[in-house]
């Protein structure tokens, strides 16, 4: 089996969870991956200070799309106050594959977008 393109990664890439638009929504953000120009946006619906529902939209590689899809399942129901504390390790561990330095931004783009939407912090997760 391929180290990087494992079955569950390809499954999330081909059938991404929580993708599309969410109307209405309370929070949104859109970010670009400078490496390739790919873009990823997010719509978030908030209820009782928690992420009630979330949808990603945009296009990208298998790593960025699978990351967003996998993260979306974890983010749903999460307290908004916890989102700012999510770091790069959280995402990379969740992804469960060895991510090279050049593909790191592909994996982290979704977290950058979500943190941007929730906390206004548009920096890359460290």
């Amino acid at each position: 089996m391929d180290d990087l393109y494992r079955d569950y990664i390809l499954d999330h890439y081909k059938r991404p969870r929580n993708f599309g638009e969410l109307q209405p929504h309370d929070l949104e953000a859109l970010e670009h991956n400078p490496l390739c120009g790919d873009e990823l946006g997010v719509h978030i619906l908030v209820k009782d200070d928690r992420i009630e529902d979330i949808r990603f939209h945009g296009h990208g590689c298998a790593i960025s799309q699978a990351s967003a899809s996998i993260a979306s399942e974890e983010l749903k129901g999460m307290k908004l106050s916890e989102v700012g504390g999510l770091d790069a390790d959280w995402m990379i561990d969740l992804l469960g594959i060895p991510v090279s330095a050049t593909r790191r931004k592909c994996a982290l783009l979704n977290l950058k977008v979500v943190r941007g939407a929730v906390t206004g912090d548009h920096s890359w997760p460290a």
Partner: protein, 412 residues
């Protein structure tokens, strides 16, 4: 170059990286449009200069400094002669980007006013877009674009229509597109611009490494290119300019070496080309580039072009065998330089590049510093394979095998 049987006739053996590749596996290098590999003669010329002739140029009285001078100016003469230019109007810069910025700052700031137009094309590299955006914003001028058609080509009729509006002061365009591979009709375009009273700047970064270029015959007022794509080192670019224009222009960067004399409050400028070479120039890099163009001239640029055209034709033919693969740009090798940009349905270009790397194949993926063009093509990114003098058909075969294996990994 390629022999009739498709084997290599020595050229690849001139490039040490193919035998000393630390990866421990054969290097299938198909990214020469990003940067070329270097022949032994270039590596040796650099090392030899640093070992035996190293000193600063232009002011030393001692023998060693005179040797450094002779090496640097000798390199300038070789580089100028290689593209049919004069040494005095051949300026060494850091790269092609700096060469274009030099024109944008020195010519543009003094000559562009509100109501004037800089005309570029939709197929430009960011290096030939952003300097004009910044200049136009500063001067209140307008930046307009010539469209790229569905075949990835420019229309001379569209150029005529733009020029007929009477407000175009400069037309800046690539000789060969780094994404589409399109070879633009430079001489026809510069003639039309000249007739309309507009200057021209040609970005020759992709052209000089793979075809015979004669800047006089092409009729460009400015012609910019870079060393590292033409078998030379990084850190050196070249700008050729028309003498009257360069003489009228103010310096771009200022400091040492570019002055005639300096008073407490003012200075006067050195003669061409030194007026545009502030500070210690890239001396060893120039020597390396001199060796690179000598090597290319030894191969013969007609042969280099024939080799790359034949390989590109083979690449287009074989890429067509990959299901779901779409090539962007001109469909025949006759009208394109040595590269092919493509997409594969169901696999993002980044993943394509990652997958073929498993077979030791180096290709590029992304927007290739041409985001406006990507928008015109309706794609976010493409994968791009490009060839050099050291490639042969077996490299293309390895690419195709790697692409087919990659599709299997993705369950396609």
């Amino acid at each position: 170059m390629e022999t009739p049987s498709g084997g290599r006739a020595g050229v690849r053996a001139d490039f040490p990286i193919f035998t000393q590749n630390p990866g421990g596996r054969p290097l299938i290098y198909l990214d020469s449009a990003a940067s070329s590999q270097k022949p032994e003669v270039v590596i040796e010329a650099l090392a030899e200069h640093l070992r035996k002739h190293n000193a600063n140029v232009h002011r030393g009285v001692y023998t060693l400094a005179q040797e450094a001078d002779a090496a640097y100016e000798g390199a300038r003469r070789r580089v100028a002669a290689f593209v049919g230019a004069q040494p005095e109007t051949t300026i060494f810069t850091k790269n092609a980007t700096e060469a274009i910025n030099l024109v944008a700052y020195s010519w543009g700031r003094a000559n562009l006013a509100a109501g004037d137009v800089v005309l570029i094309t939709q197929m430009e590299h960011h290096a030939n877009i952003v300097p004009w955006q910044v200049l136009c914003a500063e001067r209140g001028a307008e930046l307009r674009y010539l469209e790229v058609d569905e075949q990835g080509e420019l229309s001379l009729a569209a150029l005529d229509a733009e020029l007929a509006r009477g407000d175009v002061r400069l037309v800046a365009f690539a000789h060969v597109s780094n994404v589409l591979g399109t070879i633009n009709p430079v001489a026809e375009m510069t003639a039309r611009a000249r007739a309309a009273g507009a200057l021209t700047l040609v970005d020759g970064a992709q052209a000089v490494p793979q075809m015979g270029v004669d800047v006089e015959a092409l009729g460009a007022d400015f012609y910019a290119w870079t060393g590292h794509k033409a078998l030379g080192p990084t850190g050196i670019g070249v700008l050729h300019g028309r003498r009257e224009l360069l003489e009228d222009m103010q310096p771009f960067l200022t400091g040492g070496d570019m002055i005639a004399s300096v008073d407490f409050q003012s200075a006067t400028w050195n003669e061409l080309p030194y007026k545009f070479e502030a500070g210690t120039p890239p001396i060893a890099e120039a020597v390396g580039l001199g060796a690179a163009v000598e090597y290319l001239a030894g191969l013969g640029m007609e042969r280099v072009r024939a080799h790359e055209r034949s390989l590109t034709a083979y690449m287009l033919e074989r890429l067509a065998e990959v299901p779901g693969l779409r090539v962007v740009g001109p469909t025949t090798a006759q009208r394109r330089g040595g590269l092919a940009s493509f997409t594969i349905e169901g696999i993002h270009p980044h993943d394509v590049a990652e997958l073929v790397d498993r077979g030791g194949v180096c290709i590029r993926a992304g927007h290739h510093c041409a985001q406006p063009l990507m928008r015109c093509l309706g794609v976010g990114a493409t994968a791009r394979a490009s060839v050099g003098v050291y490639n042969d058909r077996s490299d293309i075969d390895a690419l195709i095998d790697a692409l087919l294996s990659g599709r299997e990994v993705f369950g396609l």
